[in-house]
């Protein structure tokens, strides 16, 4: 050991940490991908249309950092939330960063469970959501049917399930899509699509101004389901009705964030829908 020290001509310069080394992937993810206020607005619209009232109890399956559940309980003093996720480290991050910002009263109205969404733990909800295509981890009809059945069971009698799906002619091609934010670039990487199993492998990378990259910050090994498949499965497990909400476009053809229920659409390069199932 001593000899080794002598052999070193001089101390290595301290390497300035790259931005990718110090950035927090969960914080980046929340900034880049999540708009909980928008989701909540949609939940209110869709729920009110079906039930004529406001939902109070939200269940966020695959909640991750529980950003949405935290925003939910902060949005109204009567609102409660249940967050379910398998990953303890991500839940802990959520507790430290999202739940910590809540008022003591709001914090009492949120319960996070480290659990499998198939097990149906926690109180019954007015509205259950599985956003960001998280249920696509279930790659067989049997598993997805089991999950939807579990959702149905943990909803109140007049409960509503809201989920999302993406698709379009560009959903099945290998492509990297970049979106710039203030201090980083979000990269959505569709690395693989297998047409005989419908499996897709996607990554999220983050690029920084100092040219560093957080490679594969998140990786998704999914089956890319289609809208009719989801509708059929929801009806099979016993949901009473299933609606698909399609996003309107502005004059430039860009999504305007306004969703409307629809029965007939033309395929596009890329689309994202909300699927709303009523118990």
């Amino acid at each position: 050991m001593a000899r080794r020290e002598r052999e070193q001509p001089k101390r290595k310069p301290v390497r300035k940490p790259k931005q990718a080394d110090t950035a927090d992937r969960h914080a980046l993810y929340q900034d880049a991908v999540q708009v909980p206020e928008g989701d909540i607005e949609f939940f209110e619209t869709a729920y009110k249309r079906l039930r004529g009232k406001k939902p109070l109890v939200l269940r966020e399956d695959f909640c991750g950092t529980a950003f949405l559940a935290s925003t939910w309980v902060a949005s109204h003093p009567k609102r409660r939330a249940i967050g379910i996720d398998l990953d303890k480290a991500t839940l802990d991050w959520g507790r430290q960063h999202n739940l910590a910002k809540l008022s003591p009263a709001a914090k009492k109205r949120i319960a996070l469970h480290q659990a499998d969404v198939l097990d149906g733990v926690g109180e019954a909800a007015d509205l259950t959501c599985a956003l960001n295509f998280s249920y696509c981890v279930f790659k067989t009809r049997d598993l997805l049917r089991r999950y939807f059945a579990s959702v149905l069971k943990t909803l109140k009698n007049d409960g509503v399930f809201v989920t999302e799906l993406y698709g379009g002619t560009e959903a099945v091609i290998e492509i990297e899509d970049e979106r710039e934010f203030d201090d980083f670039t979000y990269v959505w990487d569709q690395a693989m699509y297998n047409p005989i199993t419908h499996e897709t492998l996607c990554h999220i990378h983050f690029d920084f101004p100092d040219k560093s990259r957080m490679e594969k910050a998140f990786t998704y090994d999914w089956r890319l389901w289609t809208v009719p498949e989801i509708r059929e499965l929801l009806l099979e497990v016993g949901f009473a009705s299933v609606e698909v909400w399609w996003e309107g476009v502005d004059e430039d053809g860009e999504g305007n964030g306004e969703f409307e229920p629809t029965e007939r659409e033309e395929n596009q390069e890329s689309w994202l829908v909300y699927i709303v199932a009523a118990k």
């Binding site: 297998n194 047409p195 199993t197 059929e232 596009q268």
Partner: protein
């Protein structure tokens, strides 16, 4: 008994009569190529390759069953040109064709079956009926090609069809269908292919991602500017390979093989089919699924 010479003479006189009739018609108004053309004939020349299908299906049967298949059932047979090709391909082979559409069956009877040699003709049976009814004898191979099963738009209906297709197989029978896809396939498109004496046009009018309903047309156009618009129209549900695999399994098939065609260095299909676990998606592709009873 009609000798070959007699038959030739008859054919010649028939041609003469037809020519006379045609020239009479021409005097009034020259008939367009579209008016003179036969859409079934054009269809066969555009999209069917029965010789190749017969060879592939027989090869696949031997691969999975280790014996030569004798019988083949062609569901949605249309003009039954595949059935005739099957019966003609080897002594002892026989075929059953099932279709709902009487005019198309009649066309096949007069244009494909009756002109075939008697021993071939005797080994082709046409059934006017619904493929859901499981009519006719059990066969070694059952097939539904050119995506014809896509007329069934619900899982329940397609499962019912697949279950029937399984029932009407021999104990070690195979059910063979084709499937298509690719990232260029599910959007409006109008593809033209120049063939001998006409242009074949494949149009995807619309694809609805909410239902996977797809509306397609085949048109034929000719050098004189005439065309047969919407010679064939298909109102289908697009079924993806995974959906088909799942439904075949649910219908009781013991194993389902999703095949893929090997390509040469130029990316052209070689006619060799293998069973990969993973393939890269392409702009457009079609492939076979083979289900073991």
């Amino acid at each position: 008994m009609t000798t070959k010479t007699q038959a030739q003479t008859q054919a010649k006189s028939r041609r003469k009569t037809r020519a006379a009739l045609e020239s009479r018609a021409t005097r009034r108004k020259r008939a367009t190529a579209a008016e003179l053309a036969d859409r079934h004939d054009l269809y066969e020349r555009s999209v069917q390759d029965p010789e190749n299908d017969v060879a592939t299906m027989a090869r696949l049967f031997k691969r999975y069953r280790g014996r030569d298949p004798l019988s083949m059932r062609e569901d949605f047979c249309g003009t039954a040109t595949l059935s005739v090709e099957w019966a003609a391909s080897r002594e002892g082979r026989w075929a059953v064709g099932v279709d709902l559409d009487v005019p198309t069956l009649a066309w096949g009877l007069s244009h494909r079956i009756e002109p075939a040699p008697p021993e071939v003709r005797a080994r082709v049976q046409l059934i006017e009926g619904n493929v859901l009814d499981g009519l006719g004898p059990a066969t070694d191979i059952g097939c539904a090609l050119n995506f014809s099963y896509s007329v069934f738009k619900t899982r329940a209906e397609l499962r019912r069809y697949f279950a029937k297709a399984r029932e009407t197989l021999t104990d070690d029978g195979l059910f063979i269908i084709d499937a298509w896809g690719g990232w260029e396939s599910l959007k409006p498109d109008h593809d033209k292919r120049k063939l001998d004496g006409f242009v074949y046009e494949w149009e995807i009018e619309r694809f609805d991602p909410l239902t996977n309903d797809v509306v397609c047309h085949i048109h034929f156009s000719f050098a004189d500017g005439s065309r047969i618009d919407r010679a064939f129209t298909y109102r289908w549900r697009y079924w993806s390979v995974m959906e088909l695999r799942e439904l075949l399994a649910e219908a009781g098939f013991s194993r389902v093989h999703a095949l893929w065609e090997r390509t040469d260095e130029d990316g052209e299909g070689t006619g060799a089919w293998f069973e990969p676990r993973h393939v890269d998606d392409q702009e457009l592709w079609w492939t076979y699924l083979v289900a073991e009873r």
